[in-house]
Symmetry: C2
């Protein structure tokens, strides 16, 4: 992609076709509106943000209920610094603890506490039900399969854009 087109006049731009625009609009709706309802449900029923829930949930499924901070950040779809800030609060609430990895001191291991385990167990049913109602039930099996493949494709492009110094 040349710099000329990047900041160029409108004539140079490869605008979206009607079909492309329609698909993007459909995806944007989902991408920008899906988190809201899930967040609300968790806030209301479990006093958790969606991000906090994802952190606790991932830990609860990990071997030894333990994960490195950097691994956990990826699994919870957040940055390491965001996780670090939230982990401090969760630690204060007594739901996780952090310790330096004994094998390699620059890693930090996040461990779900017993109290944290109970919190996830209690929150999970309502969250799963919300997910089922919001995204599983409205779609056919074929659409779910298509969605899985689409997600995998997009995962690559998003990963590439965020990892390598994003040039666009």
């Amino acid at each position: 992609v040349s710099r000329a087109t990047k900041r160029g006049a409108a004539a140079d731009v490869h605008w979206l076709s009607p079909q492309e625009a329609e698909a993007w609009q459909a995806l944007a709706l989902v991408a920008f509106q899906l988190a809201g309802p899930l967040d609300s449900q968790l806030q209301r029923d479990s006093e958790l943000t969606l991000f906090e829930y994802l952190i606790l949930s991932q830990l609860s499924m990990a071997p030894g209920r333990t994960l490195r901070m950097s691994e956990l950040a990826v699994l919870a779809f957040g940055s390491l610094s965001r996780l670090s800030n939230v982990a401090k609060r969760l630690e204060q609430r007594g739901w996780l603890s952090r310790e330096p990895d004994p094998d390699n001191g620059r890693y930090t291991r996040a461990v779900l506490t017993k109290a944290g385990w109970r919190v996830v167990q209690d929150a999970a049913p309502g969250h799963v039900e919300a997910v089922r109602h919001l995204v599983i039930e409205p779609l056919t099996e074929a659409q779910l399969r298509a969605l899985t493949e689409i997600g995998k494709r997009l995962q690559k492009s998003i990963q590439d854009t965020t990892t390598r110094a994003p040039d666009l």
Copy 2:
């Protein structure tokens, strides 16, 4: 959905099947990670947040470059109060102006200024290119068509959940 299952024991819960979980994971990745790169691109190249861009962009396409605040909020995928807060800042930057609707005083009309128009024109090429690279190019035409239909289905469930007092 009975209250019993909502806060019930784990045994009552309709957990996601492996296929459902895979589809949800794929969608979650997109839903939670797509905004970031688009926001970064706009911040870096145009000093705009994604939400600000969507506001200006929708206005630029509207007849008379004018929309009611409540209509604009829906088109930009945000709440009315969020829009109201951001509109104040955009007004201070001289990119939009607000006026009471002469026909019906409880509506407020947001109007894109000449300066605002120039800002969108300048930001649009880079944003479209980012969208194309992130979501259009990685997908086949069939996937784009499937995505459009999936988005429409989910739009309904999301709408229903956020409109009517969300019970889950």
